[in-house]
């Protein structure tokens, strides 16, 4: 069966409470005449995406968020968060949380393999995800969209439990984009996913067969119902501190990225110190 915008809207209606559907059913996008934006985002599919995340967000992971006032409500910005959990439920919960808190559809920047995944790639694109290329990010920032980037990439989500809450290689692309397009970065820490699905190993050859960067061997078949705590830090005004042309200076970009990394690290540290246990 073909999942049309009409069907997506109907499904969203069954999955979301009426008061949420009231606003989720009328989300604004830059429509190119057929209800879609150039990247494939459609408001009905975004509502369906939220519907699919709703139970997970509210009942399963019981997401608590802090510092939502730090997310810009209108202008462009980049949310830079830590990435973990073996499967990308942290990205889904962050996407849903930003949407619920701000009623803006955040645009997650995904690794190249994600858009090529059958069905999932389409559903994610309809909900706002775009492939991780400079051109895509530039186009979105030029129209003041809210980008969601995980600077650790696959290295973060694929790490084993021994490395929990230790930030992996922190890529610089997000900082370069923020400086070049004069937008702030909102450092964000997601506490909880590290413990949801401990990995005991990886079979990379099988992963590659399906176009995935790795195939995890998790200890549990499903993620544990840990509680997610999402901490949005104060925006880092790289757009005020640096000029757009500084994006071409590798030292400046590295220094700014290090600021973001340190902020996320601090948010993780503070978040962990206030958490009672993984389920609360």
């Amino acid at each position: 069966m073909l999942l049309t915008p009409k069907i997506a809207r109907r499904l969203a209606k069954t999955l979301l409470p009426t008061e949420v559907m009231d606003w989720a059913g009328s989300l604004e996008i830059s429509d190119n005449g057929h209800g879609f934006d150039p990247f494939g985002l459609h408001p009905s599919f975004a509502a369906l995406g939220l519907g699919l995340c709703w139970k997970l967000h509210h009942d399963y992971f019981r997401v608590l968020s802090y510092g939502v006032e730090n997310i810009p409500t209108e202008s462009g910005a980049i949310i830079a968060a830590n990435h973990s959990g073996t499967i990308p439920t942290d990205a889904m919960m962050l996407w849903a949380d930003v949407l619920i808190q701000t009623r803006r559809i955040p645009r997650p920047i995904a690794d190249h393999f994600v858009p090529s995944l059958p069905w999932l790639g389409v559903l994610f694109a309809r909900s706002g995800m775009v492939g991780g290329s400079r051109g895509n990010a530039k186009a979105l920032l030029s129209v003041d969209e809210l980008l969601m980037i995980f600077p650790e990439g696959v290295g973060g989500i694929g790490k084993n439990s021994k490395l929990a809450y230790q930030l992996q290689k922190w890529h610089l692309g997000h900082t370069e984009l923020a400086i070049r397009h004069s937008v702030p970065i909102v450092p964000t820490a997601i506490i909880g996913p590290e413990e949801q699905m401990p990995q005991i190993g990886q079979i990379n050859s099988i992963g590659k067969l399906f176009g995935l960067p790795y195939m995890p061997i998790p200890l549990t078949p499903l993620p544990l119902p840990v509680r997610y705590h999402i901490h949005y830090g104060e925006p880092i005004p790289v757009h005020l501190k640096y000029k757009p042309e500084d994006a071409d200076n590798p030292d400046v970009v590295r220094e700014a990225a290090e600021d973001v990394r340190r902020s996320v690290e601090l948010l993780i540290k503070n978040g962990l110190s206030t958490r009672k246990n993984i389920f609360e």
């Binding site: 073909l2 190119n32 005449g33 879609f36 494939g40 858009p115």
Partner: protein
């Protein structure tokens, strides 16, 4: 009120491929423009001595076979010189995906090479506008969805001649920018969804049932005939002349919506089954659609970015395609 131009200030334009739907519309549009003094229409047909519309003797039609270098020379230093042609609107390219061989290459690429070389020392020709195609761009999962003019070109050796020739012609024009005294404008237009334009998608949509890759539904951008002609005319008069611009259409939609809006039934099938299926269709029914040539854009989104055209020509798509089925 616009100032009436003197006869000597009026543009004299030559249109190659004038008997194609785009060429014919362009000739009509140029003749309706009071900035145009004369239109020289070039086509392969001898029977089209008279273009089927009124023109007050501001139109001359001539038959030339552009795949022959001698004909190109005769055309430029004969009738084009006599009529003091200033601008060449080059839209003549073989439209059939199945056409192959050296004659096709000669029309698609060699004719352009001759035109650029000869126009460089021509007494009256100042500008050449090439109608290229967004099919020259590479489409793959790790490249941006929104295609700017600096996007990588499809240089794959495995691409069909239809694509390779268009890439070669485009690159040929671009490499002469600034080197030739000629002002060269390359318009990379989105696919024109209209009969007689060589549209692959139109041929794909001709079947009552359209098979598409299972699990994928990429975004496409389509151009109407009216917008294609508007863009060409704007390029003819643009102040900024030596440039490359994308010409997007007003319709950006997923492949499934495109099939639905065309009133067809969409049936997703595994990708590996589509190539032999469409090859068999091509052989049995003599159709043009090649799944191999469209495989990537049937998987990954590719939408031309028209910001440069808007900035340099003031072009914005205005005419959406007339879809047979209304938006549900």
């Amino acid at each position: 009120m616009t100032k009436k131009l003197k006869k000597s200030e009026l543009k004299r334009v030559m249109v190659t491929g004038a008997t194609t739907p785009i060429g014919e519309r362009l000739c009509r549009s140029l003749l309706a423009d009071d900035r145009v003094g004369h239109v020289l229409a070039i086509g392969p047909d001898s029977g089209a001595e008279e273009m089927p519309f009124s023109h007050d003797d501001r139109l001359t039609y001539r038959q030339f076979d552009l795949s022959r270098n001698r004909h190109v020379r005769q055309m430029l230093f004969g009738i084009a010189k006599d009529l003091k042609i200033e601008v060449i609107m080059h839209i003549s390219m073989h439209r059939s995906m199945t056409a192959k061989g050296s004659r096709v290459h000669a029309l698609n690429v060699d004719s352009l090479r001759s035109m650029i070389d000869l126009s460089g020392r021509h007494p009256t020709i100042k500008r050449l506008v090439l109608k290229s195609d967004v099919a020259v761009y590479q489409v793959q999962r790790d490249l941006p969805v929104l295609i700017t003019e600096s996007h990588p070109l499809n240089m794959g050796g495995g691409a069909p001649q239809w694509v390779r020739d268009r890439v070669e012609a485009d690159v040929l024009a671009c490499t002469h920018m600034g080197l030739s005294p000629l002002e060269i404008t390359v318009l990379r237009t989105a696919e024109v969804l209209a009969p007689g334009t060589g549209s692959q998608l139109l041929d794909f949509l001709a079947s009552p049932v359209c098979f598409r890759p299972l699990g994928y539904d990429p975004m496409l951008n389509l151009l109407s005939l009216n917008d294609a002609v508007r863009a060409l005319e704007m390029a003819c008069f643009a102040k900024q002349s030596t440039t490359i611009v994308n010409i997007p259409g007003a319709d950006t939609l997923p492949l499934s919506s495109c099939i639905e809006r065309w009133g067809r039934v969409s049936v997703p099938l595994p990708g590996f089954a589509l190539a032999p299926l469409y090859k068999a269709r091509q052989r049995l029914r003599g159709t043009e659609f090649s799944y191999g040539a469209n495989r990537r854009r049937f998987h990954y989104a590719s939408v031309p970015d028209g910001s440069r055209a808007a900035e340099q020509f003031g072009y914005l798509p205005e005419h959406p395609i007339h879809w047979p089925t209304p938006l549900s």
